[in-house]
């Protein structure tokens, strides 16, 4: 056996370790799409919030109008849910296409592990946001979403291609900064979920998908 064979052995070892423990078929394009949905959502939400504030200023509704507050809260929740739904559906479709191309299974031990480790911090964050709404800490929702989403990404990075860790770190930092600029949450949100997703997705696409 010569050195070339040993090198093949090492390559084979690395490849098997990666393939068996990391889900590598996450589609970069789905990251870009999630970012675009988030930006559209942020835009619509921004419009509704402005409209709401204007009505408050012109005293078209009183500050104590409970139905009015509930209406805007409901609208924002629906927008958030729609963005999430669109992002998940697109992600699942694009990832299954990529998995097929990679000759890998979409639903196996590695993708299951990835999903569980991603979902746990994410669902915790989601529930915590609902608690914030319940306790009326509306201003902390955007930073909380960013921070928990970032932590979910960092946690998931051990089970897929590592780049998602940086998306997580940036979102956590964005979330912390956001918490100090109450009232500008929507802009930080659009940056973290919109712009950063598009950047991350594009990098992933160029680095791994386009072959």
């Amino acid at each position: 056996m010569d050195a070339k064979n040993y090198l093949d052995d090492i390559t084979q070892i690395k490849q098997m370790m990666n393939k068996s423990s990391r889900f590598i078929s996450l589609s970069g394009l789905s990251g870009v799409m999630a970012g675009i949905y988030a930006l559209i959502g942020a835009f619509v939400a921004h419009y509704y919030i402005e409209q709401y504030l204007e009505k408050l200023v012109t005293n078209e509704v009183s500050r104590n109008s409970r139905p009015m507050h509930l209406e805007i809260e409901f609208k924002l929740l629906v927008i958030a849910a729609l963005i999430m739904l669109a992002a998940i559906v697109t992600g699942v479709i694009l990832t299954s296409i990529k998995a097929k191309k990679n000759n890998a299974k979409m639903w196996d031990a590695s993708s299951r592990r990835l999903l569980i480790n991603f979902a746990f911090p994410l669902i915790t964050g989601g529930l915590f946001c609902l608690i914030l709404i319940q306790r009326n800490y509306i201003s902390l929702i955007a930073p909380t979403m960013l921070i928990f989403y970032g932590l979910a990404c960092i946690n998931a990075s051990k089970f897929t291609i590592g780049d998602i860790k940086y998306l997580g770190v940036i979102n956590v930092i964005t979330g912390i900064i956001c918490s100090q600029y109450i009232g500008y949450g929507i802009y930080f949100w659009a940056f973290g979920f919109g712009v950063m997703h598009i950047v991350y997705g594009t990098i992933m696409y160029l680095k791994y998908d386009r072959k």
């Binding site: 010569d2 040993y6 084979q12």
Partner: protein, 97 residues
């Protein structure tokens, strides 16, 4: 030629190398998972697993999930140690040339 001694004959095959690599980074692996990842036939994979088991590098855990038999493979401490030695030896051999 000290390093040559650390090249372990038991790992000197693509399938066995693959089995150990997978078991190093996973708590356990099921037979079907190994089969898919290594693209081996049942018989071929089973014989290599048996060989590693004989060396006490891996252990088999058989159980039933409902009525379906389920076979899990786990790397032993000895197996992990020996495999690490093997990798180190491979790396040294590559760096030397």
């Amino acid at each position: 030629m000290g390093i040559i001694n650390n090249i372990n004959k038991a790992f000197d095959h693509r399938i066995r190398l693959g089995i150990m690599s997978i078991l190093m980074v996973n708590e356990y692996a099921e037979f079907t998972m190994l089969k898919e990842l290594l693209e081996a036939t049942d018989g071929n994979l089973a014989s290599h697993l048996k060989a590693l088991e004989k060396e006490a590098y891996i252990v088999v855990q058989k159980q039933f999930i409902g009525r379906k038999p389920n076979t899990k493979y786990v790397a032993t401490d000895l197996g992990r140690l020996e495999f690490k030695k093997h990798i180190n030896a491979l790396e040294k051999l590559i760096n030397r040339s």
